[in-house]
Symmetry: C2
Subunit: 198 residues, 2 copies
């Protein structure tokens, strides 16, 4: 059996277990059982429990970034790009619920218990948005005065709050598509009635 197989099996098992119980309540023996592997085997592939979590972040976010960037390259209009990003972000909950749950719940507070770990992958992910915003400003579509550091986080935060909701309570009455559309719309055009439409 190839090394990478066990590595992957453990990662996938850990995602499941962390999603179900949370990082701290999850036991190594839970992960081992889920991966159909002995407790000790885990330590042949990872240094410790934290290392498993970090590997999940690094490897899985890496895959997501790749996919999203690819999808965005298909588009030319920055407005559409934002919608595509939104769609991808929200879809994650549906397509990989366990992973979404781990990223939602554990990633955010990882800085607390892993002081030294700087999650550059996560930053890279959010910065996809600022790239789009910058593009939109260059094309004279977005307002020049937008504060990029605020705008990107406003958009990301809005999306992420919705995906947090879905992770906690799957039923909201809204579909992913309409939610992505609505959030993009609010971000692009605002909640106010457009006075010109009068």
């Amino acid at each position: 059996m190839r090394t990478s197989d066990k590595h992957q099996k453990i990662i996938q098992a850990a995602i499941k277990v962390f999603a179900r119980k949370g990082f701290f309540s999850a036991r190594i023996s839970d992960i081992a059982k889920e991966a159909k592997v002995a407790d000790g085997t885990i330590y042949l592939y990872f240094n410790n429990k934290y290392d498993i979590l970090i590997s999940i972040f690094e490897e899985e976010i890496g895959k997501i970034i790749l996919q999203v960037k690819l999808a965005i390259e298909e588009e030319t209009d920055p407005r559409r790009m934002l919608e595509v990003f939104a769609l991808h972000h929200l879809k994650l909950v549906e397509e990989k619920r366990d992973l979404a749950e781990v990223l939602q719940m554990e990633l955010r507070q990882s800085n607390k218990f892993m002081k030294e770990y700087r999650n550059t992958r996560f930053i890279e992910y959010v910065d996809i948005i600022s790239t789009i915003i910058h593009l939109g400003q260059e094309q004279n579509i977005f307002r020049k005065e937008l504060l990029p550091g605020v705008a990107k986080r406003a958009f990301f935060g809005a999306l992420d709050e919705m995906s947090r909701l879905w992770v906690l309570a799957p039923e909201t009455g809204y579909t992913i598509e309409e939610t992505a559309k609505e959030i993009s719309n609010i971000f692009l055009f605002g909640a106010c009635r457009q006075s010109m439409a009068e």
Copy 2:
């Protein structure tokens, strides 16, 4: 010494310790030392470690809700109300950093390790926003088609992502006031250049 004094002392100590170490890494003895109280004393006022955390949520969010509602009642324009809400939410990081940190980091994932606990106070807080949005729709200021469940979370999420940033890395280069203004602006009018202004 009155009962309530110790209760408060322990709560305040716990906020400090939870902020510094996170809920799981915090030891009861840490909290006891910070509160200048014996370990056992804590169990005279709280059932267990979780109970301390829940009490923080209930009592402290209660206070915040009161303050915010009061400040919003001063305003008549829903657009201003949103800005006031934003200002209050962001100010919390500055004025009560430890509490903000606990709410940011621990509150969100509380559902994971305290399955039975439904945080109604938190819901109540976010619902202040939907009340404002509803008002704005009635006054024909906000678009009627806004999905209230999405819009309120978009606004809240945007704000909260910024306060998460401040909790993690205090220096961002933006002031609270300009951030509140910017987020409100984006939410109200969008990121796009208003075409009528052409």
